[in-house]
């Protein structure tokens, strides 16, 4: 009997030892909120993060001091930015960050980076464009509608349904405005630029370009520029050599077309501050006067043996900023060049730096 008691004691001792050493202790970072007060102008970088991993982030670079702050949104707000930070615009001291797969657009104060509001009830938002203080358009992928929102009340107020698109094949992207008309490129399995009358919120015209126009800007002469990626080999939608298009916004007709080689992947059409020089990525970084009739023979910045992912040009001094997402699973790096193409600085940001926004 005493041996039984002894054995029970032994078992209890083992159990207690097991249980007490095995209690949980996961360390979880509760977000603390840091104070920021940034009054200077600078460059904001939207780091997309990995699709479905919710690790998008926001970085800020001060071109004067060459200093960079990463994970700004998380640090200022104590919560994550979300899944795939697609784009950002600033209006009246408020930054609007479109977080595609989080189905949200965050509005943040541009001095403190604290959230001031958010727009939800979106399908898969890509870009936001302000028509007025109380009206903005939000383009979508996987939805054949452009959403109309009221940024004052953070609510969706209506939709513009795009013709010849289903939910599944829906894709509207970047927007530029001339007077009362707004232009939007349709990218994924699309080949059109749509023209929208912002007074009536209706599509009034559409222009067919090449396969998959990726980006859209408007130069100092009110010419629209878009570059197509040409699709991919085996695509049922077609596969062709990509092109850079110059479109007269007023007449909504193609004025110039610059053809690339089949297999090239040009992207990210951008303009300088005066909107008279056009920039894009096609392995290297290319620059061209908006009045030129042929593409230059040499790039302004040569490829660094990698696929550049994002591009922007400083509106103040014409410095060129180009992002390398490296293996898309680590901090991307941004290289800063002068307008003449000399390397000035390089800095690490977040995962997949895709979009820039000048403050």
């Amino acid at each position: 009997m005493s041996s039984l008691r002894h054995n029970i004691q032994l078992v209890v001792a083992i159990m207690v030892l097991l249980l007490t050493t095995a209690t949980g202790c996961m360390r979880w970072e509760y977000g603390t909120m840091e104070e920021f007060r940034v009054t200077e102008s600078g460059l904001l970088i939207c780091n997309e993060g990995n699709f479905q991993y919710g690790n998008a982030s926001l970085s800020y670079y001060d071109p004067e001091t060459k200093s960079v702050e990463n994970e700004l949104f998380y640090r200022a707000n104590g919560m994550k930015l979300g899944d795939v930070a697609q784009s950002m615009v600033i209006r009246n001291g408020v930054g609007w960050i479109v977080v595609n797969n989080s189905h949200v657009i965050f509005a943040i104060d541009m001095e403190t980076f604290r959230e001031v509001g958010r727009i939800t009830n979106l399908t898969s938002p890509r870009y936001i464009h302000f028509i007025s203080d109380t009206k903005a358009y939000v383009t979508q992928i996987w939805d054949n509608r452009i959403f109309i929102v009221n940024p004052k009340t953070y609510t969706v107020t209506g939709h513009i349904t795009c013709p010849n698109m289903t939910m599944e094949s829906g894709s509207t992207e970047q927007m530029v405005q001339l007077g009362d008309y707004l232009y939007v490129n349709c990218w994924s399995y699309q080949n059109r630029i749509l023209k929208i009358d912002t007074r009536t919120d209706t599509i009034v015209d559409s222009l067919t370009v090449g396969i998959q126009p990726t980006s859209l800007v408007m130069d100092c002469n009110n010419k629209l520029w878009t570059v197509t990626d040409g699709g991919y080999a085996g695509s049922p939608y077609g596969y062709e050599a990509p092109s850079l298009y110059c479109i007269d916004a007023e007449s909504f007709t193609i004025e110039k077309q610059f053809l690339f080689k089949l297999g090239d992947a040009p992207s990210e059409v951008q303009l300088n501050g005066d909107k008279n020089t056009l920039y894009w990525i096609n392995d290297d970084i290319w620059a061209m006067d908006v009045t030129a009739d042929r593409v230059p023979v040499r790039p302004i910045v040569e490829s660094r043996g990698t696929k550049f992912y994002g591009l922007t040009v400083s509106p103040t001094n014409g410095d060129i900023y180009v992002a390398d997402a490296i293996d898309y699973q680590q901090q991307g790096i941004v290289y800063r060049y002068t307008a003449a193409g000399e390397l000035v600085d390089e800095f690490y940001v977040g995962i997949i730096p895709g979009a820039f926004c000048w403050k």
Binding site: L4, C25, E29, G54, L122, W187, G305, Q330
Partner: protein, 675 residues
């Protein structure tokens, strides 16, 4: 919380001490001494039926988390769970069921959350070189799953009903019939759950606005797992016939019907009711086998078929109440399988084996419906067939009882490409009969072909991908001591090192889609410790403890992808350096108490191992317990079991933005009538 557990433990002991019922058999101790020629130098972890059948609600992914040092990456409860050996990727784990490879030929990996542990009678984990005996392509290792006859006589029936947290219902039914020559079994598992567990969302905050839409307050919301319900049905039919003159025939057919929602991310601000994100699967796997046994040779033939239909739908209600497709993807896989194998014992000292397996895959993948430029609709996808052949011969030689050596040569063909010869060399020797101290060592080269999606997926498939290649060597020292009906203690320490070249990784392109490339060179190495203790404390009290510990650095040693690359020399993302688990079983007569514990160290989410705010997943411990009581009535055997998962209500993540459930409970009633 600790105090509560101690009280619970004490309570159990007290209750157990006062109970007087029939003794429950605990884990059988395998008698050491006999070392099969077939397993010379092979390092494997075998999971016995006590482990596999511990809980009807568990998938094989759950079982492996707590009973092996294999790494299970789980995207949530009843959600995609992949397993990987020693810091490799899930597609480096080859999985076979009754001899037939069941890795998805499109993706290369296997979803272990779709394998109910109640359907598996034997499971072996073969790490590194040891996998070459079973299949090629196991750069990490192989998981060998099989069923076997119940060996019952007459009719048998078992029914288990489970009811648990989050509106979870698990049902299991098994019907068996056995005679001298025939063994017939039908098993069915039906699992369904709303799976709407609560968790505190640390990734987002809810805002409180004033009338002018100014934010006046914020808080981390307590949310439910949104859109995570599931409903899985599995049916397994087995027929075995033994001629009793050396021929055995078998038929195994396993049907899966699964309908699972894909839970929303923690960072999703969409309304759960506005979206429908769902994955459905219908799969049939069937294997017909014939084994012909003679005194010194054996031959066998197997033929099989796999049909798999998988559907992924992402829908949204545009406001009219009708869920409309945003993504509609469908894939059909038809696989034919034929295998022949033979063994020949030349003498007590020599064994020769040969095996050839052929698979013919037909894959139709339709991923997107689009409107074409010229009008009309088109489908983005691919339609491909591929033949895969794998042949292996081996010679095993044991000149003296204490020493054995084996050489295995494998050759594989995928489509019209051949791998170079895959050689594997195994050694084993008994260092000391006292304590059964055995040293095993092995070395091999291995290759893995790109999957069909790697090559052909639209957009992005890369037909120019090279096969991944690996080189592995490992050694293991094991011992076993014991005293019959008193105690048994065994343990092993293994060291391994492997190099994988041309590691395939899907990277985004500038055109907005992903494409696979041969990018990395990976060096993984480490130590694996295992221990097992069983003690018959008294005639009534029995204790069994199993533990594993693994240290597995898995380092990217490739060239920099570009000048800014900071990933060289760093641990691969989502691979923990340290994992450990302990399972303790304590039984007293008809009572059984089980404690399961596992630990994962920090996992990096970035290849550069940044300790940024979302760059790491915190380490966690997980503890599950269960208490079972068996009743032996004249008309039936009954058992009642209660389980508590996540005992300490840990908030933990296995993958970023995918919350895991807190403490949860399930109660099981098992009935086995006596006819």
């Amino acid at each position: 919380m600790r105090r509560l557990v101690v009280i619970l433990a004490l309570l159990f002991v007290v209750v157990a001490a006062t109970a007087e019922e029939r003794t429950v058999a605990i884990r059988e101790v395998t008698v050491l001494g006999h070392r099969p020629m077939k397993e010379i130098g092979v390092q494997q972890t075998k999971l016995d039926s006590v482990t596999l059948k511990e809980n009807v609600a568990l998938s094989l992914a759950d079982v492996l988390s707590f009973n092996s040092s294999i790494f299970v990456k789980s995207y949530g409860r009843a959600t995609l769970s992949t397993v990987s050996f020693r810091g490799t990727s899930p597609s480096h784990t080859q999985v076979s069921w009754n001899g037939m490879k069941i890795n998805n030929p499109m993706l290369g990996m296997t979803d272990f959350s779709m394998i109910p542990s109640y359907f598996i009678d034997d499971a072996s984990l073969l790490a590194g070189t040891s996998s070459v005996n079973e299949s090629g392509g196991g750069l990490g290792g192989a998981v060998k799953l099989s069923t076997r006859p119940a060996e019952n006589r007459g009719f048998g029936l078992q029914f288990i009903q489970g009811v648990g947290s989050f509106k979870t219902f698990d049902e299991f039914l098994r019907l068996t019939y056995g005679s001298e020559r025939w063994q017939v079994s039908t098993r069915a598992v039906y699992m369904c759950s709303a799976n709407d567990y609560k968790y505190r969302n640390h990734d987002k905050k809810e805002n409180i606005y004033d009338e002018e839409m100014n934010i006046v307050g914020q808080y981390f919301p307590i949310e439910r797992n949104r859109s995570g319900a599931y409903r899985d049905l599995h049916i397994l039919q087995e027929v075995y016939y033994n001629t009793l003159r050396g021929d055995r025939f078998s038929l195994n057919a396993w049907y899966i019907g699964s309908n699972r929602e894909l839970a929303m991310l923690t960072t999703d601000y969409g309304e759960g009711t506005d979206f429908d994100n769902r994955q459905r699967e219908q799969t049939l796997r069937a294997v017909l086998g014939w084994d012909h046994l003679r005194s010194n040779w054996r031959t066998g033939v197997k033929a099989g078929y796999i049909y798999s239909w998988m559907a992924y739908d992402y829908k949204r209600d545009p406001g009219n109440g009708i869920m409309t497709s945003m993504t509609r993807s469908r894939s059909n896989i038809n696989t034919l399988y034929l295998q022949g194998d033979g063994e020949y014992h030349l003498s007590d000292k020599w064994l020769f084996t040969a095996n050839i397996a052929a698979y013919q895959h037909f894959v139709l993948s339709r991923d997107k419906n689009i409107i074409l430029q010229q009008g009309g609709t088109g489908i983005v996808g691919y339609d491909k067939a591929r033949v895969e052949l794998s042949g292996v011969v081996s010679a095993k030689y044991r000149p003296i009882e204490r020493f054995g050596v084996a050489l295995t040569l494998r050759e594989e063909m995928f489509g019209n490409e051949f791998t170079p010869l895959i050689p594997a060399l195994f050694l084993d020797g008994v260092l000391s009969k006292r304590g059964s101290v055995i040293l095993k060592a092995s070395v091999s080269r291995n290759y893995r072909f790109p999957t069909l999606n790697d090559r052909y997926f639209l957009p992005g498939g890369n037909p120019d991908l090279r096969p991944e290649s690996g080189f592995t060597y490992d050694a293991e020292l094991s011992f076993k001591v014991g005293k019959a009906e008193r105690y048994s203690l065994s343990g092993s320490a293994a060291w391994f090192e492997s190099y994988i070249d041309d590691w395939i990784q899907w990277l985004p392109t500038t055109k907005g889609f992903f494409s696979p490339r041969n990018v990395k060179r990976v060096h993984s190495y480490g130590v694996n410790l295992k221990a097992n203790l069983t003690v018959d404390i008294t005639k009534d009290w029995k204790l069994a403890l199993d533990g594993t510990f693994a240290w597995t650095p898995s380092i990217n040693i490739g060239e920099k992808i570009s000048a800014g690359d900071q990933s060289v020399g760093k641990q691969l993302p989502y691979v923990p350096r340290l994992t450990s688990n302990v399972v303790g079983r304590l039984s007293y007569r008809s009572w059984a108490f089980l404690y399961k514990w596992c630990y994962y160290s920090t996992r990096y989410t970035m290849s550069s191992n940044d300790i940024s705010l979302s760059g790491t997943l915190p380490p966690y411990f997980m503890s599950n317990i269960s208490l079972e009581k068996s009743f032996d009535f004249r008309w039936a055997d009954l058992s009642l079991k209660g389980t508590i998962n996540n005992l300490f209500n840990e908030e933990y993540l296995s993958v970023l933005a995918r919350p895991m459930p807190g403490i949860n409970f399930e109660l099981f009633l098992s009935i086995r009538p006596k006819w």
